[in-house]
Symmetry: C2
Subunit: 284 residues, 2 copies
C-alpha cells in the first residue's frame, strides 16, 4: 500500500435498496467481512430516513447476528447532532459505517461539512467499510442525483443533482435501477459530462468498490454500467430546458454476482478476470 | 431502383404508442405524406385492439383531415375475416396501411399466413406506407416481443418472443420504451442474439424505416438504439431460466427528431448527416 495522502484503504459497498431480506443479509455479511480486523463495532446512520425507529432495530439485529461487538444506532436528525463529539467518537471506533435508505438530500443537508462526515471519511481512508443502501448508496459519490422522474428523464434538466458525500470520485450511483427503469437518468448525466461513469444498482444487488477502484458485483440482481466516455455527440448544450436529449454512442454493461469492472482502465471483468485481479492485489 | 425480387419500395413507420394527440397527428401527417402518388386511400387495421369501435373513428377522422380520399376501417377480428376477398381488395387499393395498438399477439395469431397479410407485404414492396402504433409497431419485424415485465427483465426467459408480421428484418422493435423502462427487454434480446438491432420507441416518437434501411426519428420523444453486435461476452447460454443475465459491451444511442441511423452500416446520423444521406437517395 503506497503512502500517498489520497490513498484510501477501506472498501465502499453501495447497495441498490435490497427489498429481499435474505439477499440483504447475504450482502450485509460481505459488508461485515470487509471490516478491518481491529474493529468489529458498527455505526448505523439513519439520517436519510424519516422512520429511523423502524429501520434501526433491524440493522442492529442483523449486524449483531453477523458478529458485531457493538452496534451504534445513530439517529442523527439535525446539524447539531452531526457535530456532537460523542457521535464522532463512536464513528472513530467503528469498522463498519452503514447509511440507511431514505432521502439522499437529507443525508447531505444534515451531514455536509459536519464533524461526523469528516470522521467517516477518515475512517474510510484508514481502512473501515463505508456501506449504504438506496439513498445511502446514491449519496456516496462527489456528485449525486436526488430527484428526477425515470419515465423519459432524457430531457434537459429532468434530473436534479447536487454535491454528494464525496466518498468516491468519477462516478454517479443510482439505486432501484432496473426496477424503476432509470437508464435515462444516467444517460442524461453521461451526456452532461461523459467523464463520469454511471453505476446503476438493481435492488437485490450491490457493488463493492475496492480501494484500487475495482468494482465487484454481489447479490442476485444486476449492476448496470453506463460508460459515456466515448460519447461521439450530444445536443444537450444547445437545447432549451425540457427538450429531448440526443446521445450517440454510450457503452452499456450488465454485471451479475462475481463480475467486476475496472473503473480507471474502463474494463469489464468476467468472473475469472475479477478473481485474478483481486488475487494479484492480495499478494501486493 | 434495382429490380431484385426482395426490393422494397415503400416506407415503414413504427410509432411508440403516442399518447399526445397533437404529436400523434403530426406523426400521422408524415405517414400520409409518404404514401405513393397514385393512392390516397388508407386502410386502418384494428385487429390488435379489443376496442376497435372506439379506435377506428378517430383514425378515420384524422386521415380524412389529412386528405385521404377514402379510409377503410378494417375491424378484422378472426382468421375468416382475414381471408376475405373484399378485405384484400381494399388493401390493394390503399397507399397507407395502418395498424392500431392493442395486443401484438392478436395481430399475428389472426393475420399470420392470411391473404390480408400477403396483400400488405405486396403493397409495401410496391411502394405503399405500412405504419403502426404500439402493438402495431412491435409486430413489424420478423421476430417480436409479445410479453415480459420491464422491471429487471434481464433474467433468462423473462421476455417472451415469437414470429412477427415480417415487414422488416434484422431488428426488434419495442414501444412505450422510455415511459415503461424497457431497456432490459432489448438487452435480454440482444444477449440472446447480438445480430439483431434493438429499437426502442418512446411514446411520442416514431421511426421511419426508409427503403434503404435508414432510420429517421420523428416526433417530440426519443428513439433508443441498443446495438449488441460488438457484444464481448454474456453468460445467457449457461444460465438456468430466471437467472440474471450478464452482458459486456452493448452500444446505446438516443435519437431525437431529425436524427437517424443507418441499420446496415451501424452508423448514427446527426441531423446534417441524415439530411445528406436522404438527399443523395432522392437524386439516385
Amino acid at each position: 500500500m503506497t503512502s500517498r495522502p489520497s490513498t484510501v484503504r477501506g472498501h465502499i459497498v453501495a447497495i441498490g435498496g435490497a427489498e429481499d431480506k435474505t439477499s440483504e443479509l447475504a450482502i450485509l455479511k460481505r459488508v461485515f467481512e470487509l471490516a478491518p480486523e481491529d474493529s468489529h463495532e458498527v455505526s448505523v446512520i439513519a439520517t436519510a430516513s424519516s422512520i429511523p425507529d423502524q429501520l434501526l432495530p433491524s440493522y442492529e439485529a442483523a449486524f449483531k447476528r453477523l458478529g458485531a461487538s457493538q452496534v451504534h444506532a445513530l439517529d442523527i436528525q439535525d446539524r447539531q447532532q452531526a457535530a456532537e463529539a460523542e457521535v464522532v467518537r463512536l464513528i472513530q471506533r467503528s469498522g463498519v459505517i452503514f447509511f440507511t435508505g431514505g432521502d439522499q438530500l437529507r443525508l447531505t443537508t444534515v451531514l455536509g461539512g459536519s464533524a461526523t462526515l469528516r470522521a467517516v471519511r477518515e475512517r474510510l481512508r484508514a481502512g473501515a467499510v463505508v456501506a449504504g443502501t438506496s439513498a445511502g448508496a446514491a449519496a456516496m459519490p462527489s456528485t449525486m442525483i436526488y430527484n428526477g422522474a425515470a419515465s423519459d428523464a432524457l430531457r434537459k434538466g429532468a434530473v436534479n443533482m447536487t454535491f454528494g458525500l464525496g466518498f468516491v470520485r468519477g462516478m454517479v450511483i443510482d439505486s432501484h435501477f432496473l426496477e424503476r427503469g432509470r437508464f435515462t437518468r444516467l444517460m442524461e448525466v453521461g451526456a452532461s459530462n461523459p467523464e463520469q461513469l454511471g453505476v446503476g444498482l438493481g435492488e437485490d444487488a450491490a457493488v463493492i468498490i475496492h480501494p484500487d477502484r475495482i468494482l465487484e458485483t454481489i447479490g442476485p440482481g444486476h449492476v448496470i454500467i453506463i460508460d459515456s466516455r466515448d460519447l461521439a455527440s450530444s445536443n444537450i448544450a444547445e437545447l432549451e430546458m425540457g427538450a429531448p436529449v440526443a446521445v450517440e454512442n454510450m457503452i452499456l454493461h450488465a454485471m451479475v454476482s462475481g463480475h467486476g469492472y475496472d473503473v480507471d482502465a474502463r474494463r469489464y471483468l468476467v468472473a475469472e478476470e475479477l478473481e485474478a485481479v483481486l488475487a494479484r492485489r492480495r499478494q501486493e
